[in-house]
């Protein structure tokens, strides 16, 4: 459990750094502005994403595609809770809800696509390695699997 929390803390730190730096670069390039509330929101979303993604072990029995969909829906539900809490202290317009979900969904779909591709690429690489092993074993000492 201690290892899980230390890994989770590391994931949160890395993801927040990446999101924060990316947002800063975008702001510099596009001339946008941010405030303390946005920074805290980014941090909260990084925590939600890290916690949800770290639960992948619970979904071993289901397909990765279904796992990603479930994780996305859980993350969306947690973000909704977060926004409801924030809305008690500040006003959030429907546009604000939409923007936040869009900001979360786009990177999620991009990363899911990369993961999807990596599964196929990895399988191809392993298949080629297995073929090489079969060939080498077949060539030596009349061994044929």
């Amino acid at each position: 459990m201690k290892k899980y929390f230390s890994n989770l803390a590391l994931m949160i730190s890395i993801s927040y750094t990446m999101v924060s730096v990316s947002a800063t670069v975008c702001n510099i390039m596009l001339g946008g502005q941010t405030n303390n509330m946005n920074e805290l929101l980014m941090f909260a979303i990084c925590i939600i994403a890290s916690v949800v993604l770290s639960m992948h072990g619970l979904f071993d029995s289901v397909s990765p595609l279904l796992m990603m969909v479930i994780q996305y829906l859980v993350a969306c539900a947690l973000i909704a809770v977060l926004l409801l809490i924030i809305s008690r202290f500040d006003t959030i317009t429907p546009r604000g809800w939409f923007e936040l979900y869009r900001s979360f969904t786009i990177p999620y779909i991009i990363l899911a696509g990369i993961y999807y591709y990596s599964v196929f690429a990895d399988a191809r690489k392993k298949e080629s390695l297995i073929k090489d092993l079969q060939k080498q074993m077949g060539e030596s000492a009349g061994f044929k699997g």
Binding site: D60, S63, P64, V119, I130, L133
Partner: protein, 156 residues
């Protein structure tokens, strides 16, 4: 591998010398044979109609995969399905040199029988065998599977 055989009717101490560059699975298999520890799995036909009470010896090279179902271990070959009285962990250890690797809690597969390794659209990766069957390579065993292939590549 070159094989030299020398017949000498007067020899009292029969022996085998093996010259090798690295200790790979074939060499270990030769050692098993010389030490009379050749791995042979014995099992009884899983189909009750074919089971006459006799155990049948099966060469590991003929086995596609092992499947643990309802606390019973079954071995799938080209000729049929056999039940063996060993645990999956025991078989995993015994068959390491013969290309068998654990890919899920209940399956041990023979990598030399794999025809194709392909993910489905739902991203589950399956090992397809030349007999048309397929076994899922579980995500939680991916690391062990990778390590096994890398070890075999270094050894072969």
């Amino acid at each position: 591998m070159k094989l030299n055989l020398f017949e000498d009717k007067n020899i009292l101490d029969e022996h085998v010398d093996v010259y090798f560059s690295n200790m790979r699975p074939q060499i270990k298999q030769i050692m098993d044979i010389v030490k009379s520890e050749r791995i042979s799995l014995s099992g009884r036909p899983a189909d009750d109609d074919l089971d006459d009470g006799e155990e049948i010896l099966i060469d590991p090279k003929e086995v596609y995969y092992l499947d643990y179902v309802d606390r019973k271990l079954f071995m799938y070959t080209g000729n049929g399905v056999y039940r063996i009285m060993k645990t999956l962990a025991e078989c995993e250890e015994l068959l390491w040199n013969y290309g068998f690797v654990r890919v899920s809690k209940s399956n041990l597969i023979n990598i030399f029988k794999i025809k194709q390794l392909k993910p489905d659209l739902n991203m589950k990766v399956y090992a397809y065998f030349d007999n048309g069957e397929r076994i899922c390579v579980n995500r939680s065993y991916k690391k062990e599977f990778d390590q096994y292939l890398q070890k075999m590549r270094r050894m072969v």
